[in-house]
Symmetry: C2
Subunit: 357 residues, 2 copies
């Protein structure tokens, strides 16, 4: 098997040992005589997987007692409409901080439900920073944030202090560091970055917040359906959930989220240091808002970019093309990315600058 | 690995070679150096998987040119509300044929959108038959059917002849036999019976039917979003889709749906013949409506059922407990169920009757 350094933005690299164990479970789960993908979701084996999956989310994120955890389908994109459907009161107002493509999409769905306020936006500078110092209206039912912005390489380092309920899309940095869950009414995250494979979403919500929007909510779009049924109202995405459990167990064995954060900081530092010292490269994201997950960088002379892309390909540095709206390059260095791969990228940048600088 | 005869109703048995190949892809997909679960959904490899998945649905079901195919998340349960959201005109009426728990759930969601008519129901006899000879109102926007009823072991052998558009939940018998797609406006099916693992839904829809309900439809709930984006509007459930492709390729290699139907008929015949000839057993479903997928049977003397369940367990006949609303037993004998496993169940029934009859 050839060695690929997988910098994809998501679906993305997962720990080797998780992929190995997940593969084994597709042949046979735990000496049951059955594959994980042919096993009834009502079997004792799968019910145990589901119970442990809920429990480890609680444990890793230190989720308070008065919060529920559930697993859903449909990606964060479906959450963009489930949040207002459940939490946007008829005739009320909600607020959004717009820090990129995903925040814009979330806002667009909320607009279908009533009056929305774009409380702050960094669109004026192509979302290259996280807005700060804005006023949060007191009369909004919630304020929606996107904690990490994969395309632009920005990340909230702290969250607004406010009495307004906070809702946060943490798809691309959940489980990468500790989070104070008690500051939020609702957190959602697509799994396919730091939690597991595509096909499952984690939702963490404060008890008692639902059932107040005055809307008629279809059964599958009502969070209470899934919470009340332990994420088993209907057939769950069994394989994605099991592989997410394995990934979260890997994080736990590594020492949990504080340890994970240290590793992620160390990896990001190597790369940002190179961007700042290498004469050919520069980073478009504001320094104080730089993401530990998605590192964006461009070349001062854009005409050299195809040459660097060629070198990257030769060295099996995969998935580093920047999003078309930012250009240049993006290295996604999620939890499972080994420091050796980050070093391989840095080495390529150095070798390239020796040749061209 | 011990030999289990997996009669689960879903998630359920898949072909051994599919599970083997799926497992290999979780280690490495097609010499790419990457696992199927860490690969970008925008990579050439995954785009090819997606293209081939759409194409093989079209090929196996002989889907006409004027129909679209797409893959969604959320299970058939989310379809229960997506169908009316997209096809139930504001101020109009829709009709449902109620043949069991799933049909009842589908009807319940439609009721949130306006006036519904329960055109026919077999609830009077615990859903043990498929209603026939009912009048279909001309003024309904669509008539919703459930082609196979897993809990009761009934199945439509033919569909109503009507000018009213038909919508059908085919979750538990799609890909088990040929279907005349042109008779339906929309077909949907959760994958986790005959198509693949849990976590993906197939939708086949006639072109031009959407955008007429007069409703404001959130982006993710609008079928056109997914059709227009080749099922890649957001990150799809990559592993479930790839494993579904493998399963459909297995069906194709076997000779397609006509061949599959012959095999399924042969398997079901062995089991129904035993139910009809064995003095201890009887089948609750009306003979003319018997499902080829889910075979329900009870004991004439229910006090013997725990004994038979014990024998079944000893012989590794797994997942044959009947649903609580029917009692007795249910053997789900989907496409991938080998005839040897059906024979093992029949042998157990015979041996049991020799002892107790």
């Amino acid at each position: 098997m050839k060695k690929i350094h997988n910098f994809s933005a998501g679906p993305c690299i997962l720990p080797k040992e998780v992929m190995q164990k997940a593969a084994e479970s597709v042949v046979e789960y735990n000496n049951s005589g059955l594959s994980i993908i042919e096993m009834s979701h009502r079997s004792k084996d799968f019910e145990s997987i589901m119970d442990r999956s809920h429990a480890i989310v609680r444990e890793l994120l230190n989720v308070p007692e008065n919060y529920d955890v559930c697993f859903l389908q449909g990606g964060a994109s479906l959450q963009f409409m489930m949040v207002p459907e459940n939490l946007f009161p008829v005739g009320g107002k909600v607020g959004y901080v717009n820090t990129g493509v995903w925040g814009t999409k979330a806002l667009k769905e909320a607009q279908l439900f009533g009056e929305t306020i774009e409380v702050a936006s960094s669109k004026d500078k192509n979302f290259s920073y996280i807005p700060k110092g804005y006023n949060i209206p007191k009369d909004i039912a919630y304020l929606h944030l996107t904690s990490n912005n994969t395309i632009y390489g920005t990340q909230f380092k702290s969250f607004p202090e406010t009495t307004v309920p906070l809702v946060c899309d943490m798809s691309s940095d959940i489980m990468s560091k500790p989070v104070d869950v008690s500051k939020f009414d609702l957190i959602y995250a697509g799994a396919q970055k730091n939690i597991g494979p595509a096909g499952v979403v984690v939702v963490i919500s404060k008890k008692g917040i639902f059932g107040k929007s005055g809307r008629t909510i279809p059964t599958m779009l009502d969070y209470r359906t899934h919470i009340d049924n332990g994420s088993m109202f209907n057939t769950p995405p069994c394989f994605s959930i099991y592989t997410s459990l394995l990934t979260m167990e890997w994080i736990k064995n590594l020492g949990g989220l504080s340890e994970m954060e240290k590793i992620n900081e160390a990896k990001a530092k190597i790369l940002y240091d190179e961007i700042d010292s290498n004469p050919l490269f520069t980073g478009p994201a504001a320094k104080e808002d730089r993401s530990l997950m998605n590192v964006t960088f461009v070349m001062k002379d854009p005409s050299l970019e195809p040459e660097f892309a060629k070198l990257a390909k030769e060295r099996n540095l995969s998935g580093i093309g920047g999003h078309r709206s930012v250009g240049g390059f993006r290295a996604s260095i999620y939890n499972a990315m080994p420091i050796e791969s980050v070093q391989a990228l840095v080495d390529a940048m150095r070798d390239f600058s020796k040749k061209y600088a």
